[in-house]
Symmetry: D2
Subunit: 342 residues, 4 copies
């Protein structure tokens, strides 16, 4: 469908955070979409361009999305907000694509454990789909509530998915990730001033980062039985980009060539997955929806480097990818490549 | 020992690389040392300050060190050079402290495998000591040929040493390290231009980095039996600093409190080792000989973050630390802290 | 003309420098252009993508452009190369758009003075046009040899042009410019390593930068009599971007409002010129052909901040802008905005 | 005096801002000083090290300085605070060295104009000295209230001082300055997040920066008659450092050699002033009290590049320099060089 048909009307909630603003930028250029609303409680009444001079979007920001006027709500709200608002959006007939963590965990008990409060609409957790557009495209068809994996999870799932599904490796996964500071958002505090973070790298979230349980859930699904995930993120002095270095244990008798064949078979024709011999530099994917993968072996470890733009494939452009997939657009619609080097 | 005694006369070979130049800077301020020679084939005839405007050293650079005029040669030469020159230095009676990789591996076969040529003086490999000033101080006493571990190895050994020696963990070690680009040296090429590496992170050395075999050797020594080391370094867009995130497997029944006690007992009084609750930012150690350690647990993984300055503790200031230890100086001599924030 | 007509066949000479590679990237996406050749002496035989993984261009690099197969040669060669090759290209009937400095100065004596050798084809200096697409669009029509102003000159001319032409200011111009390091090119040496230039700013070219005489020539043309230009460029630790802060002396009786009116009148409808109240951040134009201008007054100084991407408007995308203008394409063809923030 | 005498007891007010924290770091290592108090309203009750892990200072932060227990108050408070508190400090007999702008302007009307409120203690403006330790050392002797020039003013005054005093130039001065972002302080907001400012340069303060009137005052004093100062600061993506490019108009008949002689004669023996042929890179002075100067000519413009560390010579280490001068310490006391490259 789609194409010359009536454009899909999209509203962006949380349009002035980094992820929301990047959604606005991408959707403004999308040939099959009409961006009809952009909402931001903190900047309601201003135009989007007034808040982001780099934006071409002249929409006046609403305090809240009005779901009656749109087909899709792309939500980039802070934690807990979409969980409260999604019923309104869904009841009005809108499809919801949520960038936040509110609908990723299937088990309300896990939500309580990791987010420190009861989920306000736990029944929605059953209706939502943790979207993996290359690994589980069927699940996206017809779904009304699509949850994006977190930025780290996206990279790790793309990196480990085929090996797990094909049981080429065991169920113990270790992910050591490096991210640019834009992941902390535009409301970030003192700890993200250039003066504090430039020329410096540090690990954080040592006692458990919130992306860990969603990795466990999705990887266990892919593997078919329970996986354990050890996960440590690191902050590096750059704006965009994630390198997730994934360490898996090869099953006896599995060699790297077999692994490469399996990845080719899973991903070979997918437009946003690319393979490189050496690990890709994160700058290569900046501003794009691409994921570069490289496959390596040391001893009986399979090592996969998965490289994405945390705001692109890790958030906003993956939301557009899901929208394209859900509504039958060309996969590249609104996601034309614009890599820059240097 | 020393102190008010005659100063130790030191020559620096390879004085115009980053590590050599930082040795010159540190030794110039050392109260018990007289920096008598600085050598650099590429810049012989210039003063050190002419090559490094930040240097206070007015010595005219020699093409080669003359070992007859010094008590110690600190060598920061490119790979293979010290291996050829050390016999001259040693025969002249000088103590040699080598920052390169030439004397780290005990086994000539391993040297051949990793460095691609026969070691020119394999007998020296038996006389050399892979120095670990906090973990094996006795080995340094009286040694005439001290090899520094590589920058990554230094961080990993400090991070894993006590756990390995006390058998709190198993023999499988995984080290995921992040380094600033100064590790590539001042002769680095196009791939290290700011335009190429800024705003970008990437893994490298996937098929085996040369610091891996020295980690295996030293960790096996500490553990008392053979260890395996999986190692992946990453380049991050900063000048100085290494974060080595070390993943070890806790022995059954060992809890984090026991690990912390063991580390305190090994390192508690050592002036260059500091513990932090959260992982330290690498900027905290920039320009110093410090190593910050933090100890964490996820499942049955012990995770140790070891944070050093690759040119400081990972090279030049560790050379000064060894000189202090070898010649009985105050451990802090020439290594007074000068942390800066921001 | 153009549009559905046969595409214009373009060859890029010097396709593996930063400016050439950016030309390739832009022209590959240009709807009215067929990129038929990319040449690079140093990488002939490789594909463009093999040299620049971010490139979508699969053309095998030629050692030299073959002008018989193209309508336009866009040249991004090192100094002096285009001066030697342009006759071949022109004789074969190609239009030449040159990013280098070879055809900017009208006077062969000035070329000799600033470039240290006789111009190999001084007669071509009479046929070439120093292109200023907004300030002198007529000159571009029908020209067969278009020379781009240098990156600094482009910013300064856009910033000062209307004031000079309208005689709102006197003939003494002072330009203090700040540039990212990509301006030094991919062949840049040690002085542009991240380790050398990060966390550092410096002025250079104090005795006269080569963009100064072309500013004098073009500004004098705009003013109608001889101008003097004082010019100091500075290197700042970023990849792309130029901020040219231009200081002009207001004629008695001219106020800032009159100046703003004049700039609006010159530029108001030009798609690549934007006005901002406060000076724009250079990141705002990164990857684009935009020039942001802001107009200010202190005492009797008119201060104009002109902000461009040195590789975009300062080189490659301005070449595409000229191509569009020369061949009657839509001004935005191949230059669709892709601003990113952050 | 001083030396083996009783140490000077110093208190730092505003000890948890960047400038205050750097004062604490420097004074902690000063051989003639006892740092007896550090005050910070926002962090009272914590140790200094708890707020700045890089600090060696274990003092518990007071809410306010108690002037009865110290000989000197070094104040790094936000604007307006020192103006209110200085009478208490002075009445208790303490000497005050103020890094803020509260006592720089001699004329209360100018203070009102630029700071938007009446000065709370205008009579103190008559007792305060705008300190220029190399240019007017006499004024510092015996003064009880020393005001540091702003970071930009410090660079500009050092750069222009000798030329103005010797009337080698005219009274019209233009200063184009570039600063690292640490000048905005640790309380800086969204606009100074790494995500917002990395890879970007911008001018600001176009309608008049508060350092401009103090430049006018001090330069007019040096020149002996009224000067005009055009001043534009720029934010560049680095932590520390200022490059002030100063444009002056040479008097007829004055050549560059004469200017160089005058500068040598004024500064030749001063330990913190250095001359370089080419403009210095700002990294060269990072962490130090140095000012590098280079002198250039274009047409009848004298161009002086003055390069300092904004938090060092532009604030905290200049405060220590004044303390040394005022109390007769060795000029280098507490200010030993610790340049790093890279």
């Amino acid at each position: 469908m789609a194409g010359a048909a009536a454009p899909v009307r999209v509203a962006v909630a949380g349009a002035t955070g980094y992820a929301g603003a990047w959604c606005v930028a991408l959707l403004s250029r999308h040939p099959g979409v009409q961006l009809v609303q952009a909402a931001s409680r903190s900047h309601a009444g201003s135009t989007h361009q007034a808040v982001y001079p780099a934006s071409e979007c002249q929409l006046v920001l609403l305090p809240e999305v009005d779901p009656s006027g749109c087909d899709v709500v792309v939500s980039a709200l802070p934690p807990g907000e979409a969980a409260r608002l999604a019923p309104l959006w869904l009841n009005a007939g809108a499809t919801v694509i949520d960038i936040s963590a509110d609908f990723r965990l299937r088990d309300p008990a896990m939500y309580l454990k990791w987010y420190g409060e009861e989920h306000p609409n736990p029944n929605l957790l059953l209706r939502s789909v943790l979207a993996m557009p290359e690994l589980d495209p069927k699940a996206i068809e017809g779904s009304e509530l699509l949850a994006l994996p977190g930025c780290f999870s996206t990279a790790a799932l793309l990196g480990c998915g085929p090996a797990l599904r094909e049981h080429l490796v065991g169920p113990e996964i270790l992910v050591d990730a490096k991210t640019g500071v834009s992941g902390a958002g535009r409301q970030a505090g003192q700890g993200f001033l250039l003066s504090e973070v430039d020329e410096s790298t540090r690990a954080y979230g040592m006692d458990g980062h919130r992306h860990q349980p969603e990795m466990v859930q999705a990887m266990s699904d892919l593997f078919g039985e329970g996986c354990t995930v050890t996960f440590v993120p690191h902050l590096v002095p750059m704006v965009r980009g994630i390198v997730a270095t994934c360490y898996l244990r090869l099953r006896p008798g599995v060699d790297l060539a077999a692994v490469k064949r399996a990845y080719q078979s899973h991903y070979g024709d997918r437009p946003f997955i690319r393979f490189s011999e050496d690990p890709a530099a994160s700058k290569l994917v900046s501003g794009t929806n691409l994921c570069y993968l490289s496959l390596h072996r040391q001893g009986d470890h399979l090592i996969v480097c998965a490289v994405i733009d945390n705001l692109g494939r890790g958030a906003s452009s993956q939301a557009v990818q899901l929208l394209n997939q859900r509504f039958g657009f060309n996969p590249m619609a609104g996601l034309e490549l614009s890599q820059r080097w240097p």
